[in-house]
Each structure stands twice: as structure tokens, then as C-alpha cells.
Subunit: 479 residues, 2 copies
């Protein structure tokens, strides 16, 4: 292979490949020396990059040097142990290895034949994980890129399940379809509802209790009122671990209602679902096996590099009926004897994603993963206790998983606007230290700081450091 | 970092990382020693894998050994130079490096702040590529995973452009929306139409000429008839390089109609779009800058590992209006001064994909990429000439790009059913040699063999080998 035609020469690949591996090993080893959030303003990075692609081939040496000079200073370090924002996702070594292998094979597993190993490994690891979290045998899993896309497919299956022949006829001649969830459901539900042509107005928000959990009686009432109006209730979305506060909807009671009303029950556990591998956490998943579709993201809190989201469904035939389409050029002799994953979704192209999950499950083992999740849950409880015991802070939601919602509430300040201003300032000053990264939400109108413990490299000292910085910055603000 | 808590130790990462790089270098170097298609039956691979995940941590040595023993024999080798099926995609060394780096950073670029480098590099490389293919400045690009998803977003923008407030109200009270394309448009158009709630029946298929290109007068007629019925024509989808035969719709004339009729014009060039970097190919892209949205996949034929599909649009505001939703926990101080790519689509999660494209563009340079595409186009022309000159074969479509549609037509056989049977047999025997992988399509009812030249490692000798095998197998069948 010469550089003038074909791929990179083998020796160059090895030389720079080794250098890249060493670079990554050092990067991860020194990750704490970087500011979590980069000190960069919009436009800074692009202004240092050329306006056009290079006409001639450049040396890898220059490209890697620009990674150090231009890219690295502009990266938000998700792998940093004090990245405690959003739902932190961290990629483990074995997960990175799986991803590397997948890039090297570069297969597109749209049908079984286009990569049998991809189809069968996907089926296998999804069955493994199903057993780990305790979903019954009947559930069928599909890997998608993101929870947004898994959710879209779950709700699309719900729409298909309504039996209105929307696939062929479209939505324009049918009654209003109504979807139910709380105001705490993830924004991807709204995006799915927009995409599927259901319309944002046809999301009916069910009130929540003081823990931000759906009130089942209110759901029942809403369904009955909508039926009376001639609308078609077609989907209830509940969440185990909402994004704002990690609230848990009463899944078992909602399942009763959905069964009785014959409505598709979609359950979003994109973040918290992985904790079902712990026996002591099963209490939060009561009834989850009654969902028609269930989303869980190993890329969020199980050390698999993004992207890797799973949709499990008890009714794969409905999903297939919604999406299966086989053009002539994709027909194969194995269409009736093998799984062609393209039948279960919008995306025809499918990377060999199962590899990275397989690597992670085997490298850590079930117990290794349980141990790590338990560590995070304990750290979160510890932080939560610190908040509860401190007179200048208050906790704003129960801590079920690894996320703590809190705010500063120094003595003497009772005005809610002032508290909101103070906490927004506090968050900004904490983040501008570069030592920790947190984000906020609003709960009952209160500006709420969220701290998430789910990084693979996050240890007690990192949570202590965060706490120290938060208290220190508050002290400065209150001076 | 200990194995009992946290990630893989640094030294282990380096040791096995180097081994993995060497493994990949050898794999790619020896790729021709593997059968293109694996000799495996449905169930073979999964039956050799355990039924449950390991309870305890396993050695990387064992995992890598299973890659050799279990995975490798079941992989369809997309990187093989005689993989000439579908639209072959091959990953280059620099592309793989970019992917590796992206897995190591493991960032989620949903908003600018969550990784400024990702947002700004994406904007930069998409601007570079826009100039390379000759799209005007006004086009705005977004990277999605697959062409199916890019197309879905293009058609969703078209739906939004109809001004019927579908985002809020849904589709149930509005007139029928009609989409126009030929029967040769990709299946992802149908999947988008299903997903968006438009309905398969509301795809109106416009007849094609003898080259499988849309006939503009028929489009005009269909639009006017549909308007007369009270329907709303909302989107025309044309293709440069259809999947079956790589036909080219008359883009400029279609653009005239869409402009006059104020209908969104979506242009699918997922496969062939990259050839617009060649001045001599510009003739096939006349008027493409008049499309409202345009799909092109660097992961198909520009040596970027899958997944990497670009949607360019002249009307980014429409796309944003369709999808933008900002929950409290995703609000940032830079919302008005930076691009938050989550605003332009369904997916919230976004890998740092720009890196791999940046690596490929710089490593090869524009001229290096042009040279490789020219090489493929020449090889395709060469194969096409062999077909044309051989009395026992016939070409079934023009060869504009790297794809040749042909069939065997030995003297004496005129019955179409017999020809179909013969060619199906021929394809199967050719593929079962393991030396080359081709797929078929149907054109005017004729079983058509497709041979695609777009692999980075594909040289003249590989096309000659394919030709030799095809003729050899035909000779055996005709004995």
C-alpha cells in the first residue's frame, strides 16, 4: 500500500497507532491536571483552524500536534473524575478497545449477512444484560445510538400498536392520539412526539407528588376524560430516574392502568436502568417487566463509550411491523432464519456496537460492575448526608441513585428570587474554578444544583473536593 | 487505578492497546487472505458464546483470543478489496485514528459547552467539505449517524416548512401531505414517511425514463392533480446516484418545479455526493445547490469509518424550528452565541465525530481523495467496458459512478424467467467462492448483478479477479 493510492502504510499505522495509545493512556492518567471545563469562548477554536481543507496530504505528526495545540484546550473533559454534570458518561479501557476494533472492521450490520458476527453478538450481549437486570426471557433487545432514538422507536411502536394503520395511511384522517407523562419526562419524549406527527399539545402532563413521581389516580382520570372526548390514549411514558431529579414513577400501578386500558407502556430508565443489576436496587424497578418497551443506556453509567442505548420490548413484532421494509438489494437467503436488525428501526446503517459492550461485560464481570455502581451510590449518599447536615444547604429531592439535587440556603435568606440568584451565581463560580463541572435544573421554580456521581474515575476524594469547592465559593459569595 | 475499582491500569491499557494496533495492522495487511463472506450459518456464532455474562472479571488475553476464534470467522469483511456489495464503505487508517481519539475523549456534544472543540470542529470540517463539493456559503451542515437519519431530518424540515404547525398540533387535522420521488428512491424515504406520520400511500411515485431518471413533466402533472384534490404537495425527493442503479434525477429541472410550486426540495446523494469534489463530475450535480436539503455520506465513499452522514440545508432555521427544545438542565450562557447542535435534530447525544473526518481530510488532502475517487471511477469504467464487449453479458444501466449493473445473457437464452434464474444462481456461486461479494437488484423485473468499486484497497487486480470469477462461474453454469 502506497500513500499515493490506497490506505496508510502498515508501518505508519503501527507507529502512530502505538503513539496514539500511549497518548490516550497518558491523557487518562493525567486527566485531573486538566480543567474540567475548557477556558474558551465561542469562536476561539474555529478561528485558529484554516478556512479550507488542505490541498495536499499532511503528516500525521502535524495532525497529532494540532490535537494537542487546538483540540485539547477546547475539550470538556467528560472522563475527568470531577465531571459531575448532566448524567456523566465515562468510557473504560475495555470499552475503548471494543470501539477501536469496531472501527477497524468497519462493518455495516444492516442484515445478518452483512455481518453475522455483529448480529449474533448483539443478540447475545443483549440477552446477557437482560438477565443481569432481571427482565424476563420474552423481551427482545435492539441497540440504537442514543436514548432519544430508542425512545422514538418505543413511541413509534406504541403508535403502531394503536392499530390505526398509520404506516400506510398516515396520521391525517385519524382521531387525536394522546401520550401521557409528567413534566419531568425527558425532552426526547417531546422530540419523539414532534417527529411522529402527534403534536406537542397531545402530550398530557400528569401531576406529580412531592417527590416528583406521577400520581396514578390523575393518570386514570386524564385517560378517561380523553376517551370521553373521542381522543385515543395510545402511550404512557413513565421514568425510573428522571433527568432533573432522578424521580421514580410508580411503575407497577401505572402498568395496572395501561393493562386495563390497553395502552402501550413505555418506560424510560436510560440513566438509572443499569442499577437494576444490584439486588438491593430492585425495589425501584418493581413492575418494570410489565412495560411494553424499556430504554436503558449502558453508555451512560456502565462505562461503554457513547453511543450505546438499548430498547427492550415485549412486542418486537409490533416494532417490526412499524418499520420493516426490504428493498430488493437487501433481500437475503437468511431473511426467515436470522435477525436482520434493520427490520427494527429507522436506521439502515448499523456499526458493530456489540463489541464494546462485550468487552466491558467480560473485562469487569458482573461483580466488577456491581462493585463500581455500589461505590457511586455510596458516594452519592455520603454527599447527600453532608448537604442534609449543613445548615447553609438544603436537599431538594430524594437521592435514589447517584444524583443529588440541592441548593445553598444561607440563614436569613428566604426570598426565592434571591435564592435563585445566589445559587445561579454559586454554580457559575464553582464551574469557573475549572476543578469541577455541575449543571442546574429547576424544581418547583427553585434554581437547583445537580451533582452526579457516575464517573469511572470518581472516588471519595473527588466528591470531597467538590463539596469543599462548593462550600468555599458559597462562603466567598456570602461575605 | 486498581482493577478492583476504577478503570483498567495504565500499563495494561498500553500493553493491550499496542497489541490491538498491531492486530489491526496485520488484519488490514492480510485482509485478502480472508473469505469476503464468512462460511457461517444463522446461529453458529451465538451457539459458541455463553448464555450469561461472566460473573467475574476475565483477562483481556482471553477476550482477544475469542475475537480470533469466535468473532473473526463470523465477520463479513467490509475492508476486503473484493467486497463489492451494497455501497462498500471502507475505513482508512487516519479515519480509524480519529475514531479512537473520539472514543477516548468520550464527550457528548449536545451543546457547545459540553464540548466546544466538538462543535467548532464539526462546523469547520463541514464548511471545508461544503467548499470541496461546491455548495454555496449559505448551506449549513449537521452530522448525523446515518443517511436514513439525515433524510428523516430533511423530510421533517420539509414538513415543518409546510407551515401547518405540525410540531404543536400534530398531523391529525390537516390535509394529506404528499411526497414525490421515483420508485428508485432509497428505502429510507419510506421509513421517514412512516416515521413522520405521512403514510406510505402518500408517496407518489413519478415515472422514470429508460435511464431510471425522474421525468419532470410527470412530476409537474402529479403535483397539479394532487393540488386539485386538495392535497398538499410538501416535498420532492430526487437522487443523484440511486441505490439500485446509481441513476441521476434531472436536478435542475426538478428545482425549477419546486421553486415555482414552493415545495421543499430534498436531494439524496448519500453515495455519489462525494464525487462532486472532482471537477469532471460536476456535470452530474448541475443545480444541486438549489436543493433545500442535501445528504452526502463521507462514511460511504470517503474512507471515514461509519457512522458519518451530513445533511446540508439552505434553511437551517426551518430545521431548528422543527426540533429545538431546551430543557432547563441544558440551558447555557452561550445559547445565543454558539451552535448547540442538539437544536437541529432528534438525537440529544452526539459523539465527537468531526475528529475522524478532520483526520481523513488532512491525511489524504483534497488531491489525495480526488486521486482515489478517480481511480475507482476508472476501474468501474474498465469493468463496464468488459461487460459491453463480452457477448455473454449485458449492462443494464449507465455507469456514472463506481457501480456497474449487469447480467449474464448467454446466447440462446431469451426467456426472462430463465435469465433471472441463471443470474441468481450465478450470483450465489460467485459469492460462495468467498473471493468476492456482490449483491443484486431488480431493474425492469430483471435480476441484476451489481458490482461496486469504492473500497480504499480495491485495485485493478481485484476488479480483474472479480471479472475472472464471474466468467468462470458462468462457464460452469452453462456447461
Amino acid at each position: 500500500m502506497s500513500k499515493s493510492f490506497g490506505d496508510m502504510p502498515k508501518e505508519e499505522f503501527k507507529k502512530y497507532g502505538h503513539a496514539l495509545i500511549d497518548w490516550i493512556a497518558d491523557y487518562l492518567d493525567n486527566i485531573e491536571t486538566y480543567p474540567v471545563l475548557p477556558d474558551t469562548k465561542p469562536g476561539d477554536i474555529k478561528s485558529t483552524l484554516p478556512q479550507t481543507a488542505p490541498q495536499l496530504s499532511e503528516d500525521l505528526k502535524n495532525i497529532f500536534s494540532d490535537v494537542d495545540k487546538i483540540i485539547l484546550p477546547g475539550v470538556t473533559h467528560w472522563q475527568h473524575p470531577n465531571f459531575m454534570a448532566y448524567f456523566n458518561s465515562s468510557a473504560s479501557g475495555p470499552g475503548i478497545f471494543g470501539e477501536i476494533l469496531s472501527a477497524a472492521f468497519n462493518t455495516n450490520g444492516m442484515v445478518w449477512k452483512s455481518n453475522p458476527a455483529s448480529a449474533e453478538l448483539e443478540e447475545t450481549v443483549l440477552n446477557w444484560f437482560k438477565k443481569m437486570i432481571g427482565l424476563p426471557e420474552e423481551f427482545f433487545g435492539v441497540v440504537y445510538d442514543t436514548a432519544s432514538v430508542s425512545t422514538l422507536h418505543g413511541i413509534a411502536a406504541a403508535r403502531e400498536y394503536s392499530g390505526l394503520n398509520i404506516r400506510a395511511k398516515g396520521m391525517n384522517g385519524i382521531p387525536k392520539l394522546i401520550l401521557y407523562c409528567t413534566e419531568h419526562a425527558h425532552s426526547s419524549i417531546e422530540k419523539a412526539v414532534i417527529t411522529l406527527g402527534i403534536g406537542m399539545e397531545n402530550i398530557h402532563r400528569i401531576p406529580v407528588d412531592e417527590n416528583f413521581s406521577m400520581i396514578p389516580a390523575k393518570l386514570e382520570k386524564a385517560i378517561s376524560e380523553d376517551r370521553a372526548k373521542g381522543y385515543v390514549p395510545f402511550c404512557v411514558v413513565a421514568t425510573i430516574g428522571t433527568t432533573s431529579s432522578t424521580a421514580i414513577d410508580p411503575v407497577d400501578e401505572i402498568a395496572d392502568i395501561c393493562e386495563r386500558e390497553k395502552i402501550w407502556f413505555h418506560l424510560d430508565a436510560a440513566y438509572a436502568g443499569v442499577t437494576a443489576i444490584l439486588p438491593e436496587m430492585k425495589k425501584y424497578f418493581k413492575g418494570f417487566e410489565r412495560a411494553d418497551s424499556f430504554v436503558v443506556n449502558p453508555h451512560k453509567w456502565l462505562f461503554v463509550p457513547i453511543d450505546f442505548s438499548i430498547l427492550y420490548t415485549r412486542k418486537p413484532d409490533v416494532l417490526k411491523k412499524a418499520f420493516s421494509l426490504v428493498p430488493e438489494y437487501l433481500k437475503t437467503a437468511e431473511d426467515n432464519t436470522a435477525i436482520n436488525y434493520m427490520d427494527y428501526g429507522i436506521q439502515l446503517g448499523r456499526r458493530f456496537r456489540a463489541l464494546k459492550f462485550w468487552f466491558v461485560l467480560r473485562y469487569f464481570g458482573v461483580e466488577g460492575l456491581q462493585e463500581r455502581l455500589r461505590g457511586h451510590l455510596q458516594l452519592a449518599q455520603q454527599f447527600s448526608e453532608w448537604i442534609d447536615k449543613h445548615e447553609m444547604f438544603e436537599r431538594l429531592a430524594p437521592v435514589y441513585f447517584g444524583t443529588i439535587c440541592f441548593r445553598a440556603k444561607p440563614n436569613g435568606i428566604t426570598d426565592e428570587n434571591k435564592l435563585n440568584e445566589l445559587n445561579e451565581k454559586l454554580l457559575n463560580t464553582v464551574n469557573s474554578t475549572g476543578k469541577v463541572f455541575l449543571v442546574h435544573t429547576k424544581l418547583n421554580g427553585k434554581f437547583t444544583i445537580r451533582l452526579v456521581v457516575s464517573g469511572l474515575r470518581t472516588e471519595e476524594k473527588h466528591v470531597m473536593l467538590a463539596w469543599e469547592i462548593i462550600r468555599g465559593e458559597l462562603a466567598k459569595l456570602c461575605k
